[in-house]
Symmetry: C2
Subunit: 639 residues, 2 copies
């Protein structure tokens, strides 16, 4: 007996697969027995805090594949394995049935069966007496063969025998793991916001000022409000406006230059406020249905207390200076990377873990981690597991824009969600191929994408030049394709689109200066954002990625995809040409929509409110970017 | 640093991949390092008889994938693993190059490099002095920066540093294995032959009689002559003609009912001859370029000596009789299966292993194993490894026609080759899908198909009704699609096609009676078989499966495929309609043929001797089954 191809698994079980609470974990494996033996087996599973395994019987599918599922009922790590054995009684029973049907003499077979039942009785505890009775009946020469066959093939005996299998020669698979997180790990809309720009009359904003924006963000329908680093900002080599080397008095500096004499990763920038004010902000956010996420950038400004207290945590250069960050030939003299291979790495790793623990203790559970790929994978595997051990509701978003396999490795070692290449995927084939990779390959078991049309670091070319249509299209693509998405606002909804020439960097970037946003700008995309987030909340299909399907169209400018979850089916069509009206026929994948060939159905536009009666796979759509570059249809079967 | 997705591997390294001697074993893996670190690594490998690992440097491919290959220079088991580490010097050197290019001050960087070089000197043995000189040069304030940069970025220092890497924090992958067999495991044409039908004037044939057929088989171009079991045949419940329950005097019985009072699996059926005569037969075969294969059927007739000597090796029924073979409701009372889970299984397993050992000692190395799927997988894994340990040139063909995953499991545990479902795959999509599974999925790493158009057990419907065209087409499909193939002759080339009504069983099956074959029948396919085997020997592309490709045609009756190995390209087109002329256009996959788009080329028919000038992908073919149902083209680029 071999147990093969156990699923779900990441790298053969080296890493956990990811699920959220309430999911059914569908487990399967090939049970390959010699010859024609009947097999039986169970999935054994237990939560990491449970001392004993529970078991669910495996059910046979096609082609030697067996499956069963268990509920992910608690946050944390579940372990599971398959155990299987030869089911001699089931095999005997099936053979007996065929022989009886062929009217063969089965008296010896009944004696064989009696032996099997007697052996089970010895294992059966309270059921022993019933089994002994059955064995005697099978073997009894006084009873008629027909009577004995009835007992042998009866449901009662089958149930009793299934209850007491001979597992002495059972085979066990390796152990596999499932990381169960809360729903927010899979579904959430994030809004990134610089509190310091919330001040009145050009003054540095505080948490208290930022509270005034919470009703606005909540009204837009977001789930998470995410703040760039809230710690004291270094003064030494502080960057000026537009990342300039010259810092003028009053320039606030980049929040990612973490640490000053006021403190480091466990301190708050005095100009933002106090711990009490942060706490107040967090509770206000929660009162508006928003969860607070903070940014954890594990690096130090030259003024970070660690530089003096723990110079051994940094890389020293032969001239006695500390190695600053660089991406040759670019230099970032205002940032010192930490040395994860430092001789005293255990104390460094523990201190970094304590940063997460510190903020967890202050009620924060959602962490956007800056540049995790320039840190150690082994550190993340250890640190995230340690945080989740005490705070299984913590959520980690990996902000790595790096090589694909490294992005995936970060997800494998524990990040709940990950930034992606979506920001640069524009054309139909790019979106189609990328979504295929994310949803329909083993990547889906461990990598939860978060799609961002913009970030403070990235103003991609299509947003610079595509106008209002581009902003709406990219919003709908991000929010529709990926259950997790986010925007950097208010820059996004106010369609901020001016870049430093020849770059993807915002001109007059908020990273280096205070901005005054005109939230009441009548051109704001606020109504569209609000509508899209409401659609996401009302349509469970958009709250996960596994029901995604792509649909061909005969016009490459029209990108169509759907998501389906149970009865809820949403079909999105986006005009990727932000300047011209485009029309064409879709060739819908009706199976993916849960529709029969030739079915009639209604598509109701949740954005434009139009309603159309369609039939079959081929249907015409036309989108004018100057009006509305998208359809977001809910599909209803015609009555 | 993580090492991921190591290839080649079967089930993550649980089983060896298969290669033949002389192959280059191309190993690859993803080396995923944190951040922007440069990495380096090696493949470590050793033959099971070598005490130490050898190493070959990994070379970077795209997207963090690295590879290297080693030669499978000896039969037996190789083990390999990847080892990789951060290459600090390479990273430093790349960064230095960029800084120099940007005209930055690199004096401190040169000191960093000097430290790296000095550290290497401490590991460098004979190269230490040269490294110390280089380190001093890098650090020397007396030399000009330009001079120091020249040393730093010079090829000489790079080579020295690559020779002495710091592997103290290296990461190692798991160990993987490669089973190296001889070429016959991958490429061979088999001819199955009942020696007992080689007698003169209706008498029972002997090995000496069968020797007379060796020139015939050799002339047909086969590589292996395979004999059904050569052991004494049981008398108790011996089957009569056409598998009849009544055995008449003179009926020879089925050779698969192994064992009689004359002996069991290590004895020879007296009517076939003596050990000396078998030896003579084997040497004669070898003199004709034919290797002898025998059939090992691990089961016993009721007369097998083991039944008396080791009743504990069989399953006893409650009435004191031994359990015979059955496939309910069918009974095979002339055959007793062995009980691989017998209480005394170690002695049984050893005795079975000794059967192979016994015949190996008598010069036989090729074993066709009967029904291995009704035995234990664990037994095969142990037994085949044990035989190969002493006789690494042994070849095992698995005759399992059972569930797909069990067939694959047998290949994983050690069988060199396997019978397949080819015998029942007739239509274009069946052949295409099956070949895809065998060649273009992970199956290819462990399962070597052997395609048989017929066997003594199977006369498939298309051969019963398809006439000469069917025989030729199935021969060319078997011999062309699969580097290993075989026929049961002379039934095949004499187009024996009469079945017991409603069955796939030969009427008057040679399994139960002596046959008199008219080898000189003028209608014999002998010339075609000879031609096809010669084509296989002359075209290396047909001697392996990895260059296989399928080509679409606009007529589903025309099945086209190609095989390519280096410069040798063979394109086969088969008319699957055995009754009507069919014509149509092929849409050739030019890339698979090694041809450029729009290229002109010549196709030379190796069967029909025609020659055509073709251009591009779309070309017309027409095949008349009454003339010749196949083209076997060699492709030559136009000069």
């Amino acid at each position: 007996m071999r147990i093969e191809s156990v699923a779900p698994a990441v790298d053969g079980g080296r890493y956990p697969v990811k699920r959220v609470i309430g999911d059914e974990v569908a487990v399967a494996g090939d049970l390959v027995a010699d010859g024609h033996d009947a097999v039986a087996g169970v999935v054994r599973f237990r939560h990491e805090r449970e001392p004993v395994w529970r078991e669910i019987a495996l059910v046979a599918g096609a082609n030697d594949r067996y499956g069963a599922s268990f509920a992910a009922a608690a946050l944390g790590l579940y372990r599971f394995q398959l155990e299987a054995w030869i089911d001699a009684f089931a095999g005997w029973s099936a053979a007996l049935g065929k022989k009886v049907e062929a009217a063969l003499d089965v008296r010896v077979e009944l004696l064989v069966g009696a032996d099997l039942v007697r052996a089970a009785a010895a294992r059966a505890g309270a059921d022993a007496a019933a089994l002994v009775r059955a064995a005697n009946a099978l073997a009894s020469p006084e009873r008629s063969p027909a009577e004995r066959i009835d007992v042998a093939l009866g449901a009662e005996l089958a149930a009793l025998m299934a209850k007491h299998p001979d597992r002495s020669a059972a085979t066990q698979s390796a152990e596999y793991a499932v990381r169960v997180e809360r729903g927010l790990a899979r579904f959430g809309a994030w809004y990134e916001l610089f509190p310091r720009s919330c001040g009145k009359n050009g003054k540095h904003g505080t948490f208290r000022d930022a509270e005034a924006m919470l009703p606005y963000v909540a009204d837009l329908g977001f789930d998470v409000v995410y703040l760039p680093p809230i710690h004291p900002i270094g003064r030494t080599r502080r960057k000026g406006r537009n990342n300039g080397l010259i810092c003028n008095p009053g320039d606030p500096g980049s929040p990612w230059a973490v640490g000053a004499e006021e403190g480091g990763h466990t301190a708050i920038h005095p100009e933002l406020g106090t711990f009490a004010e942060l706490e107040h902000f967090r509770r206000e956010a929660e009162a508006h249905g928003l969860e607070l996420a903070i940014d954890v950038a594990l690096q130090a400004s030259p003024d970070h207390p660690w530089v003096k207290e723990h110079p051994e945590w940094f890389r020293m250069r032969p001239d006695g200076t500390i190695q600053f960050a660089e991406n040759p030939p670019k230099k970032y003299e205002d940032i010192y990377p930490l040395d994860f291979e430092s001789a005293d790495w255990p104390s460094l790793w523990r201190a970094l873990y304590q940063v997460f623990e510190f903020w967890c203790e202050r009620g924060i559970r959602v962490f956007r981690v800056d540049n995790p790929h320039t840190k150690s994978l082994a550190f993340w595997e250890w640190c995230i597991a340690a945080v989740l051990e005490r705070h299984p509701d913590a959520v980690f978003l990996s902000e790595a824009f790096t090589r694909p396999k490294l992005m995936y490795a970060l997800a494998k070692v524990g990040f709940s969600q990950s930034y992606t290449y979506f920001t640069w995927r524009n054309w139909d084939w790019e979106l189609r191929d990328y979504m295929h990779e994310l949803v329909h390959t083993p990547v889906a078991e461990f990598f939860r994408p978060s799609f961002w049309p913009n970030t403070p670091d990235i103003l991609p070319p299509h947003l610079q030049h595509g106008g209002r249509a581009a902003f709406i299209a990219r919003l709908v693509l991000a929010a529709g394709l990926s259950a997790n998405y986010g925007i950097y606002g208010p820059a996004f909804e106010l369609m901020e689109h001016v870049a430093r020439p020849g770059s993807e960097e915002y001109l007059d970037n908020e990273k280096y200066e205070l901005k005054a946003w005109r939230l009441d700008d009548p051109r704001s995309l606020r109504p569209v954002v609000r509508r899209i987030n409401r659609i996401r909340r009302q349509n469970p299909a958009l709250q996960r990625n596994d029901g995604y399907a792509w649909h061909p169209s005969d016009n490459g400018a029209l990108f169509a995809f759907s998501k389906r979850w149970r009865d809820n089916v949403v079909l999105v069509v986006v005009n990727l040409d932000f300047h011209h009206r485009q029309g064409g026929h879709l060739a819908l994948d009706l199976g993916a929509l849960g529709l029969d060939r030739g079915a009639a159905f209604t598509v109701h536009d949740l954005v434009g409110d139009g309603e159309f009666s369609w039939q079959g796979a081929r249907n015409y759509v036309e989108l004018d970017p100057h009006v509305m570059p998208v359809h977001v249809f809910r599909i209803a079967r015609a009555p």
